[in-house]
């Protein structure tokens, strides 16, 4: 018997608050998933519900083959538990020396995590999160605070995940990893747009660059900068 494939199924899951509501159904299988949606549409609420940290108002969430899971919150300071950067790494069970070298923050070992710039703290947080493999990895706005080069590096790192479910909740439109499936929240409902590139035709939050490339007769195969560049090359010949 092999290891069962991980999956998480939302069965008429709902969250209701005053006049705002969110309902979600669908199965997230192994691979990289993108969930897009407008500000306040419920991306973070959905992430919290999938992480088991926020009880749905209705419906249920079924998990299979998931023994380890992690939710990365949009604001990295919410994760800080130690008074030094080295202590923060240790709190995640990772070797500070190794990880700080890798992300260019070796000189900050004794600094307070909250004294670092927001980009540095986000880099530290994501490096700690991504140092381990999880069956279910939920990344809520992982690209916020990162500069363009760091976003590209994060995309590559996410692309190296060989197993498990990775769900990215974001409004980022330009620098994204190659994804297996695209979802979006529209009018309070989670919609499964399908797999790229077919998903582009009915994806409300399709990045403008994809719309423009498609109009130029060069629809990209997926949503990463490499896919965009490949499409640009097709235009330029």
């Amino acid at each position: 018997m092999g290891v069962p494939m991980a999956s998480i199924t939302l069965n008429r899951v709902s969250a209701v608050r005053d006049r705002w509501s969110l309902s979600a159904s669908g199965t997230f299988n192994e691979g990289v998933h993108l969930v897009s949606g407008e500000v306040g549409s419920g991306k973070s609420t959905l992430a919290l519900m999938m992480a088991g940290l926020f009880p749905p108002s209705g419906g249920d969430i079924g998990k299979e083959g998931i023994t380890t899971s992690m939710l990365s919150l949009p604001f990295p300071e919410l994760h800080v538990t130690a008074i030094s950067v080295a202590g923060e790494c240790a709190s995640w069970g990772v070797d500070p020396g190794e990880i700080l070298d890798a992300i260019g923050l070796a000189g900050k070992k004794e600094s307070s995590p909250l004294s670092m710039s927001r980009g540095e703290l986000k880099r530290l947080h994501l490096a700690c999160v991504l140092a381990k493999d999880y069956d279910l990895l939920l990344l809520d706005e992982p690209f916020s605070s990162l500069d363009c080069e760091e976003k590209v590096k994060l995309c590559k790192r996410i692309g190296q995940q060989s197993q498990g479910i990775c769900v990215i909740f974001t409004h980022e439109q330009n620098i994204l990893p190659r994804v297996t499936r695209i979802w979006e929240i529209v009018d309070g409902m989670l919609v499964d747009c399908g797999t790229p590139p077919d998903a582009f035709t009915h994806w409300h939050h399709v990045p403008p660059v994809i719309t423009k490339l498609t109009a130029l007769g060069a629809r990209p195969d997926n949503i990463s900068p490499d896919d965009f560049l490949e499409a640009v090359c097709r235009i330029q010949g």
Partner: protein, 227 residues
């Protein structure tokens, strides 16, 4: 004009810089000095040496609107209406005038539905919209926006773009990691390790960034001429 001369502060050093009225966007890596420069423009920090003047006055004698990427750090009040009203209340403006200004500003930002909500319940993006409304409600001469867009979707960004362009602020100085936003600027500054290495219109600056993560994907094949 905003002028900087022999400006030094922490890792930032600018020998000479002139910024004309309009939208100036700063791009560059984390730690390159973007936020430091914005803090100097907003008067939150003062130079160690040299000067930065806005129309011949120091920033601290100028009406400034400031929005931080992490609005929680600046939000003072529990509910949205009170937060947006606060700059006007601090100026002891009449209550009925405050009410109408807050409502007009909230409407422009598309957040009228949030006015009675507690700020703590809002999403990250909604908090940015509230902060922006609070920064604009007193009609600043200079609007300083520090990576305000990193928690916003395309629709909210379009609303904000419209909001800042019609704000009446003479100078809008912002930093962003969204090159789609940077394209729509009058003036672009590229920061690298505390220095401005490229300055000019987007047409002038972007060609220097070819091959980097800051080069807009479609810059090389724009169609027809850019709007």
């Amino acid at each position: 004009m905003i002028t900087a001369e022999f400006l030094c502060y922490r890792n930032l050093a600018i020998d000479a810089l002139t910024i004309k009225p309009g939208i100036t966007t700063i791009i560059g890596a984390n730690g390159s000095g973007k936020t430091t420069f914005l803090k100097l423009c907003a008067g939150i920090a003062v130079p160690d040496s040299g000067s930065l003047m806005i129309d011949d006055a120091p920033p601290r004698e100028t009406e400034i609107g400031w929005v931080n990427e992490f609005p929680d750090r600046n939000i003072l009040f529990v509910n949205v209406f009170d937060e947006i009203a606060s700059p006007l209340r601090f100026r002891r403006i009449r209550c009925n005038e405050i009410d109408s200004n807050v409502h007009a500003c909230a409407e422009a930002m598309g957040i009228t539905h949030l006015l009675k909500r507690a700020v703590g319940e809002l999403s990250g993006g909604e908090k940015v919209l509230v902060s922006l409304a609070a920064a604009l409600v007193h009609h600043p001469e200079v609007l300083v926006l520090d990576e305000y867009d990193s928690h916003l979707d395309a629709r909210a960004l379009a609303t904000i773009e419209q909001g800042i362009r019609t704000s009446g602020a003479d100078y809008i100085i912002r930093c962003t990691q969204q090159m789609d936003t940077a394209i729509n600027s009058d003036y672009l500054l590229f920061f690298d390790a505390g220095r401005i290495t490229h300055a000019g219109t987007p047409d002038h600056v972007f060609p220097f960034l070819k091959g980097t993560a800051y080069y807009p994907v479609l810059w090389g094949c724009r169609w027809p001429a850019s709007p």
